[in-house]
Point group: C2
């Protein structure tokens, strides 16, 4: 059976003022009327029923996530007492799924990415699942067709075509510099790493055990306690001491070299929504070239991106401006400076304005 | 005795979203904690007591103004059933003052201008009042030393010095084009017309009668009814039919040619606060070159002007931006486009968003 694991540990400081320490991007309606994690789980619901869907998140967001996802059993929202990057998170989920369904397959999704073409994603998922059916040791990923040389994403280098849209992946590559990214995009066999993974639970747990044996041992014990009163206290005792390491680094880089990774490539309108700028690119402009969620009046202005639920926004004599309004704060940002939004949280700390964090 | 007349009929569409049809600039705290009309009346209170201070305004703002100025007798807030420009307003006030104090002098002030150096203004008022004491037929004005070639103001051309800071004024000039304004400023004997007037009530009523005899006749009857139950209904019957004309055009242009105008010149930090840009120029910048009323975080940004009472504003990667927040709307404007804010109200009407007017 297929089980879905949604990783929901992100912080989203680049989405201030909408996202805050206690309300990260995944629990907010950044695009459309539902929150990003609701959109993610709804997208999965065609493939995996809620009782086989798991969410891994931090303690400060668990209650909110349980409230937002009422169809998912409360115990399936697994609380990390401390964030330890993706390898321990995947290991724990794989150990739990293996215990409940020894031959089970798991599909891992970030909770806060956007997909505008769901059907294109489904086709890629079908292809990668078929690949795992044909080779139980395979580790599956989705490679996203790159539209421009983004330096903020990791890349997957592909090799031989497997028949159908799946390919062998050869290398997992870190975020490149611009010249390298340009070379990747030009070559045609590099794809963006969307952070989605597909594998048998027993296989990935074995793989993690090869490089992180202590983690594997610990999560097997935790999985035995899953669903009992002991689970929470055992998590508190054990989990924070696990090595903080990404699944890319712990498993995927080596597995790529061993020829074990299959990548289904797709163009599903994906974005990691890493900044207001990337959201900007996702929203189609109106006839004046502006993009607004709520009411916008533009005078001698084009290229505006406005995220406003409550208040009318008027933009006068400014091009390419991003305006985000919340109950207690307003961001006004040039779209080419969207990465600098992170600096706001630093300045708020310096000034002691912690209520806005 | 001196009587003050505050003209409070303005609309202030260039101060959207702070000013609205029902809340024009003069009843709002645009600068500092008090509203502009409160600041104006407080500034006058050293010279004229509240019982001799009159405010002329429209019906939709009278209650608000009475509430904001509790020391001024309610009947001294005179309601125009319809705005008829400044000549009928001045005529009515002069007729009322003449009836109550036949030898009285009146000082006319706009309700929504800013003066940052009150003492400089007082000196000029003293000079102009001394001029009227010496020549009962004189019409007094304040000429503001121009700091740059503003094309949005009228100018007063001065001639011979009278001894002290008062001068004979020769011409009242309409808003010039830029080349003309530059010539005015360069010449050194042109001053901004601040819209402040000083004269004996009987003298100005006679002057208005010369060019607007029907207005003079009507306001004398209205003045007889002032303070009685008949006043409001008589105003409703009579006032809307008076010729709509400015006091500059009805009296001052001719009086200038006749050598009857004396101007006290001053540099009192005056602004008509005609747009957010002019307010911008009045607020001193912080160490990063930004000006904020409330909390501002600036990242890679300078020259911002932020009017925020409630919400924190963060500006990222933008220079010279004006951000104004209210409960229901946000304006984001480049400072060189502040005049275009007027266009917002037109667009709101086109789009049927009348709640924001």
């Amino acid at each position: 059976m297929i089980h879905a694991v949604v990783m929901a540990g992100g912080r989203g400081t680049r989405f201030w003022p909408l996202s805050r320490e206690r309300r990260p991007k995944q629990v907010l309606p950044v695009v459309g009327g539902k929150t990003m994690i609701q959109e993610t789980v709804e997208r999965l619901s065609g493939v995996v029923p809620p009782e086989r869907t798991y969410v891994v998140t931090g303690a400060s967001h668990a209650d909110e996530i349980r409230a937002q996802l009422p169809d998912i059993p409360a115990q399936n929202v697994i609380v990390e007492p401390a964030g330890r990057n993706t390898a321990p998170c995947v290991a724990l989920a794989s150990a739990i799924i293996k215990r409940l369904d020894p031959g089970g397959v798991m599909a891992v999704f970030p909770s806060d990415h956007v997909i505008t073409n769901q059907d294109a994603l489904y086709k890629a998922v079908d292809a990668v699942m078929a690949g795992i059916d044909g080779d139980r040791l395979a580790l599956g990923v989705i490679g996203i067709k790159p539209h421009y040389p983004e330096t903020g994403y990791g890349y997957i280098k592909t090799r031989a075509r497997l028949g159908g849209p799946a390919m062998k992946a050869e290398e997992f590559l870190e975020k490149p510099d611009l010249a390298t990214a340009e070379r990747y995009v030009k070559s045609g066999n590099y794809y963006w790493n969307a952070g989605m993974f597909f594998w048998r639970a027993d296989v990935i747990l074995d793989e993690i055990g090869k490089s992180q044996p202590q983690t594997a041992t610990a999560v097997i014990k935790l999985a035995e306690a899953f669903g009992t009163a002991r689970f929470e206290s055992l998590m508190a005792q054990t989990y924070p001491s696990l090595a903080s390491i990404s699944i890319d680094y712990a498993v995927m880089e080596r597995a790529g070299a061993e020829g074990r990774i299959i990548a289904a490539v797709a163009d599903p309108g994906w974005s990691d929504v890493g900044s207001w700028r990337s959201l900007y690119d996702l929203v189609p402009p109106d006839s004046e070239g502006n993009r607004a969620r709520g009411k916008l009046i533009a005078v001698n202005s084009t290229g505006a991106f406005v995220h406003n639920d409550k208040r009318l926004v008027a933009v006068v004599g400014l091009d390419d401006v991003i305006v985000i309004e919340t109950d207690d704060a307003i961001l006004v940002c040039h779209k080419d400076h969207a990465q600098d939004v992170r600096q706001i949280t630093e300045k708020l700390k310096e000034r002691g304005l912690t209520g806005y964090l």
